[in-house]
């Protein structure tokens, strides 16, 4: 992998393989994500999407291949990578005995030692979460949708260089989903990069600059939604997906 490639992209994945024991979850995938780009991974359950996101988030170790996040190699410089990313897992929760605001303050403490910066971050989080007075209630009293909004707020308030979002609108209603999509677009307009995975094909089509179709641990197609629709003579990404998987 050349230095130029790394410099031009926020994420560069080369021949990534990840196995759990004898089970091969990711079978050698390669892709790159540009600067301030929204890159989507779509595929059926068990295709390997979450594994790829977890690897890039420094949670899982690579079996073989390489992953670079900005100038850092995730195997060698995991702690540096963690300063640049923010990961929102699909099934995430908040600490039960902390209030929504307490949780945001807890997260902010790791991103700045400056009190003014931390307050700014938390206020941004409160604004994104839109929980009103409930932000001062314990997170154990929140509905699934409220918890998800808090977690999205947590992921975006720290203004990461790369936001890794696994099913960001999971559990949210139409209105909330639309708001979150708006926030993601706003985040990218401010030079942030997003890697997301979703089952929601419409969401992917609306949000992503480029998408990768993944099945059984392999990337089958990569391109912009328009390119893919044209190639497979499809009206939408759902039809592209069905054609590619078949």
């Amino acid at each position: 992998m050349s230095i130029m490639q790394i410099m031009e992209h926020s994420v560069v994945v080369r021949e990534l393989v990840k196995t759990y024991g004898t089970q091969k979850a990711v079978k050698g995938v390669s892709f790159e994500i540009g600067m301030a780009e929204i890159f989507g991974l779509i595929g059926p359950n068990g295709a390997g999407k979450t594994t790829i996101l977890r690897v890039i988030s420094t949670l899982l170790q690579i079996t073989s291949g390489s992953v670079n996040v900005f100038e850092y190699d995730i195997s060698r410089d995991a702690s540096d990578v963690r300063k640049l990313i923010s990961y929102l897992p699909e099934e995430a929760g908040a600490y039960k005995n902390l209030t929504g605001k307490g949780y945001l303050e807890f997260i902010a403490s790791f991103y700045s030692t400056n009190t003014a910066d931390k307050i700014k971050m938390v206020n941004r989080g409160i604004e994104i979460a839109q929980l009103g007075k409930r932000i001062d209630d314990k997170s154990s009293t929140y509905s699934k949708g409220m918890t998800r909004r808090l977690l999205v707020a947590r992921a975006l308030m720290v203004n990461p260089k790369l936001a890794i979002l696994d099913e960001p609108t999971s559990g949210l209603d139409v209105i909330n989903s639309q708001e979150i999509r708006g926030l993601i677009k706003e985040f990218v307009e401010n030079k942030g990069t997003v890697l997301l995975s979703s089952h929601n094909m419409l969401e992917i089509e609306l949000l992503c600059d480029r998408i990768a179709l993944i099945n059984d641990g392999l990337i089958l197609e990569i391109g912009t939604p328009e390119e893919l629709k044209l190639k497979y003579k499809a009206r939408n990404i759902e039809e592209v997906f069905v054609s590619v998987v078949k």
Partner: protein, 446 residues
């Protein structure tokens, strides 16, 4: 690509993080741990437990007081007041003597029951005349049991001591009659002992029982506190890990810009703080419960004169040993915690730790480790928790070396276990440990 070592080493150096943020991160995690673990529900259950012990202590005291009161009823078929007079001499203010007017034993028992009598003594006809002839007399004694409680056992012991006192009083009267120039006490107990105890190079008055009673009480409380702190601390850190997995917060925590060592350290310190609070509350209640049973025998000389008291250095070493033992427990539990999946499974994972703690606790309480067979002795010494439990016994004899060796062993053990924990945390085992474990169990079942 084998990346665990390189990535792990970078993680534990803090990734270039300066000490100030490192301390801030540690403080943030400790604060979060305490908030998550020290819940209202936990505090309520602890306070309830402490109140329960206070209540039990009060009840025990009242039971003991109650058992000291004895109502003796006498059916005097001989119509003499001999026994009554003796009882008034040997009795205390807790003994109430009641003369029953009845024709036979059956009706006397009925009346005795109505009078809440503890024991009914039936003095047979001819009792006085036989005594005058210095012949053995049999009196019937009916203990009236109201239930099967501990009070009944204590009452029986009291009655026996009263009967012994009656016998002694009558025997003294006989001796006085047969040998008026002799002291009845000298004839009844011709040999008395004057006890001395030799410890190290000192000989001082007292009995070994008195010394061991004091040293045992001193060396029992420390293992007890230690056992509780260890079990609570272990339970807390594993609950913390279980909760992180159950509420799906662990993945987020592990992707934050905070070193793994900070996470481990924060969890260990946070759990230790909560365990300490729990132990203090528990011990306050427990002390109140134990206080009537823990009265020590009074010695003619102080323990200091025996040279078996705790010195300031002894207390310092004991404190360090206890601290190290807590670190050992926490380090073991952080490794075990990786395999927990939720708060419930965390409770189950504390059982192995409980067993490891209980072995030295029970052995140090009832046996001297040095008297154990070699195999068992090695096992006990290999358990790190044995050392602080034995420490107080060594320290009161100013024998510091075994305690220091124990401390070195615990420090090495902790360092090694934390290193294993750190290694696990720097890999994805912390997230996938269950997968491997479940798979192994499934294969084993097949």
């Amino acid at each position: 690509m084998n990346d665990s070592t390189s990535r792990g080493s970078r993680d534990f150096k803090g990734g270039g993080v300066s000490p100030l943020p490192l301390m801030n991160h540690l403080y943030t995690i400790i604060k979060k741990e305490v908030k998550e673990l020290l819940t209202k529900e936990l505090m309520m259950s602890l306070v309830f437990m402490a109140v329960f012990f206070v209540f039990m202590g009060k009840m025990m005291r009242s039971v003991e007081k109650e058992s000291e009161k004895i109502n003796i009823s006498i059916l005097d078929l001989d119509s003499t007041q001999y026994l009554q007079n003796i009882l008034s001499l040997v009795g205390s203010k807790e003994i109430k003597v009641n003369i029953i007017d009845a024709k036979d034993v059956k009706s006397a028992i009925g009346k005795a029951k109505a009078d809440s009598t503890t024991v009914l003594l039936v003095i047979p006809n001819g009792f006085n005349s036989k005594l005058m002839k210095m012949e053995k007399v049999e009196i019937e004694m009916y203990s009236i049991m109201k239930g099967l409680s501990m009070t009944e056992t204590i009452s029986s012991a009291m009655i026996k001591s009263i009967v012994d006192a009656i016998n002694k009083s009558i025997a003294s009267t006989f001796i006085q009659r047969l040998a008026p120039d002799k002291k009845a006490e000298d004839v009844l107990t011709p040999i008395v002992t004057k006890d001395f105890v030799v410890i190290k190079d000192k000989t001082l008055p007292g009995t070994p029982a008195m010394i061991t009673a004091i040293t045992t009480s001193q060396s029992m409380i420390i293992p007890l506190i230690l056992m509780m702190v260890i079990m609570y601390a272990g339970m807390m850190i594993m609950t913390s890990m279980g909760q992180e997995k159950e509420t799906k917060t662990l993945e987020t925590l592990l992707t934050l810009p905070v070193s793994r060592m900070c996470i481990i350290g924060g969890k260990m310190v946070g759990s230790a703080i909560v365990a300490f609070v729990m132990t203090v509350i528990y011990m306050i209640g427990f002390k109140y419960y134990m206080s009537p049973m823990s009265e020590l025998p009074k010695l003619a000389v102080s323990m200091k004169e025996f040279g078996i008291s705790m010195t300031p250095l002894g207390y310092l070493l004991l404190g360090i040993a206890l601290f190290l033992a807590i670190l050992v427990a926490l380090s073991i539990c952080i490794v075990l915690g990786v395999f927990t999946q939720d708060a419930k499974s965390a409770q189950t994972m504390t059982y192995p730790l409980s067993m490891i703690v209980l072995i030295p606790f029970m052995l140090t309480m009832f046996k001297d480790i040095e008297t154990l067979p070699m195999g068992l002795k090695i096992l006990v010494y290999a358990i790190p928790f044995s050392h602080p439990m034995m420490a107080s016994k060594f320290l009161i004899f100013h024998n510091y070396l075994p305690v220091i060796y124990g401390m070195i062993y615990m420090a090495i053990f902790t360092g090694f276990t934390i290193w294993i924990g750190a290694k696990i945390f720097s890999t994805d085992k912390v997230l996938t440990a269950k997968l491997a474990l479940t798979k192994k169990i499934t294969l084993w079942k097949k």
